[in-house]
Symmetry: C2
Subunit: 467 residues, 2 copies
């Protein structure tokens, strides 16, 4: 099995977790197979990331327990029956697998409920379930209703896991870099093969195939669209039209389930129009400003606002924004064009630890999330630390519906030139994105660099159109 780290890695991670928790019983729910259109037609199995982080075993039907006080670690799961081995082939028994991740005690699945009951009134910590079958397990084990489960989640456990998983080890950074490099190769394929007349879904096939060909998968449903202004777009039915831009936001998950996530916006034809170049350069300037600001100790919210200011400056140069830009950014005016956050953490999940809750992951007691339109979509606000892996993904999106809404209310008209803006109504959207590691003194791009400058992208596209 080359898909797990060393035994020592998992033991060390659990030792740190136990130290942080101090006492109590920790319950880890692995994931189950997930049915698509009938019970046995499954989506590709995806293990829970926290389970992978502490126990490494990448298969359905497992539950783990750490009893911090008794120093006991246990895996609950079933071996294949004789009949099952006929259909599924021979697999090592759970006890052998457990040893590989440093766990000495295994028990059949059927004993979990009884085991948990035997703990009587000792505190049992678990994390927020995000799959219905895991909520059902918890409800059944604790003899509670499904509605009661969310309030039983352990904030202490969440915080301990977040503090460990947030700081990536060298071996994790290597895995993330692998995922990023596959993501780069997915983007290169798209840049080489996209051409006018194609359907977006043809490119979905191309990049998904590339991800799978490396033994992993995509890290999230790819966005591949000529309607880049639609931020949550999982429609792939458009035809690529000359003159339009193609926004590709996708990445690979490595065989060990670490994520990559890259966005590029390229011309469907061989070159950008002048106006596309202008907006692209504004986005790229914001990206570079943000990257230059990355270092331990700076709040990511501050980096976000630096990027927003840079976007606003560019838009002012074009006559779309106007007035005092510090005031404008303070009031969130830029969010008419950049409605979302500058980035997110990345690791075993593409939005790392999103299941554990943004308030613990991206914010702190001292820094709560803003409710301002734009800022409220910033997943990460808190101070960066050495070892964080984050994405930087500024963009400019002209969303006709949102423009109409603001204009109808004459919103922020001191800072927005609605007349000029009307020219951009059907412009679309541009985003660029890469993953960065926070280092001692600043940051480092993860993986191999992928073309991002206008001239480099056009050169690549030019080559393609000559084929």
């Amino acid at each position: 099995m080359d898909k797990i780290f060393s035994t020592a890695t998992y033991k060390e991670r659990r030792a740190q977790l136990k130290k942080k928790m101090g006492s109590g019983v920790l319950l880890f729910l692995g994931n189950e197979e997930s049915s698509s259109n009938f019970k046995d037609n499954w989506y590709p199995f995806r293990q829970d990331s926290t389970f992978l982080y502490f126990f490494g075993l990448d298969m359905p039907g497992l539950t783990a327990v750490i009893d911090v006080d008794q120093e006991v670690e246990m895996l609950f799961g079933d071996n294949l029956t004789t009949e099952e081995t006929i259909w599924q082939g021979l697999h090592p028994p759970l006890s052998d697998l457990a040893i590989k991740v440093g766990v000495e005690k295994t028990k059949p699945k059927s004993e979990i409920a009884e085991f948990l009951a035997s703990l009587s009134d000792r505190p049992i910590h678990f994390l927020p379930p995000y799959r219905p079958e895991n909520s059902q397990k918890l409800a059944s084990w604790f003899n509670k209703s499904l509605q009661e489960i969310p309030s039983m989640v352990s904030v202490e456990f969440i915080k301990a896991v977040v503090s460990l998983r947030s700081i990536k080890s060298d071996e994790e950074i290597l895995e993330i870099s692998k995922a990023v490099n596959i993501s780069v190769s997915m983007h290169k394929k798209l840049m080489q093969q996209a051409k006018p007349g194609m359907k977006e879904y043809e490119l979905l096939g191309l990049v998904t195939g590339e991800a799978l060909s490396h033994g992993g998968n995509v890290s999230f449903p790819p966005i591949i669209t000529i309607e880049g202004q639609i931020l949550h777009n999982h429609n792939y039915s458009n035809t690529l039209l000359e003159g339009k831009m193609l926004l590709g936001d996708f990445g690979a998950e490595s065989a060990m389930h670490y994520a990559g996530d890259i966005t590029r916006t390229i011309p469907v034809g061989s070159s950008f129009s002048d106006s596309q170049k202008e907006i692209y350069q504004i986005v790229l300037n914001a990206y570079q400003t943000a990257v230059a600001a990355l270092r331990p100790g700076i709040r990511f919210k501050e980096v976000h606002l630096l990027a927003c200011k840079k976007l606003a400056e560019g838009l002012k140069d074009l006559g779309i924004m106007k007035g005092n830009l510090d005031e404008a950014v303070d009031q969130g005016v830029h969010a008419l064009f950049f409605q979302c956050g500058l980035g997110h953490m990345m690791g075993l999940d593409v939005h790392d630890m999103e299941d554990l809750g943004e308030e613990y992951l991206g914010y702190t007691e001292d820094l709560k999330k803003s409710s301002q339109f734009g800022l409220k979509s910033l997943r990460l606000g808190k101070e960066l630390e050495k070892g964080f892996v984050i994405t930087i993904e500024p963009g400019i999106y002209f969303i006709p519906k949102l423009i109409d809404q603001w204009q109808a209310e004459n919103l922020h008209s001191d800072y927005i030139n609605y007349e000029k803006l009307a020219q951009y109504r059907n412009f679309g959207g541009i985003r660029v994105e890469d993953g960065y590691l926070i280092t001692e003194t600043g940051s480092r791009l993860l993986g191999e660099p992928l073309e991002i400058e206008i001239k480099d992208l056009e050169q690549l596209r030019e080559k393609q159109s000559n084929l």
Copy 2:
């Protein structure tokens, strides 16, 4: 929207269903988004097939009701909020979509529970849920525990749906043929590109990419393995070795979610060994025997047994089986080599309607499923009818663990030459599979023919190895 049939099609299907049911209220649960490693990281959405069949709408969050007595048809679902349209783009309102499938009444999701309660003691029919979130919905609407739901399922409703969905219309056959043709193209790519030294997952990427490139997806998790004797094999980590065979069992789902499902077994190198050829030809003979027997009125169980007999004859010629083959097949001796069923229905699901229960789908009051090893894995036993779409997939699998088990018990030693069999212990497995439509007088291969004869496969592989 070219991804739905005509309004008349859906109205007619529902009219037939109402006629069959006679009275009562029919409840159809659409599927929801399915979370992978955190709530908003979704697997590709897959609508429930029965929902697609009667209501055609391919999006999450819908529930439909037919009140047979009151002649009312209703769709429950929510339109995007203004904020959602900013992120997701403009979508037609549910009422417009409903009209396209001939449904005039729509209501918000929040009104379902109240609506169902208002029916007081009228019978409400629903189908077996196979996703946990849909079980939870039912439990909540009917104020029952999750455990009570299975016993509340309507057998009458199941039977009515099975009787309609089993007979494929011309437009459905066209869609299945599209799916089969994409499946053929997936197989051709694999046959052209597989070569010694590759990893199985590279081919997984190749064929999945091809399926997605046609606007659909794979119809089930592909089996691509040099260990063809492992019947349920979703591991892709082996390296392709010269001398081995590669078994590929996969297919596409068309953009409208109809399935294709084809299996071929090819040499990893450019040609089969003599012994591989011998076993392959036996499997192919069984395939041809089965296909020749297909016609309305014949029980599929009989076709299965004809194929088993043919397999046994071939194995007897090789000296692996011996004795009276009618007796041997009657006692299920062939199941040491062919442990599973000859085929299954295919349509909107690759194992069509498997969620509705094999006892209603594949068997009847007069023909119950056998419990004999081998036959108990035959999903379809009943009489074929014109309009059925089925697969034919015989195979020979040498499973060391199973051979050891039988030999240890000296099982069926009148019919098995265990000494001769020992030579085949590490042979692997071979399967071939295509989809057939039952016609007035016999059957018709669905889609374009794909190479299946030894010489044709070798010719294709020869070409590849010369590249």
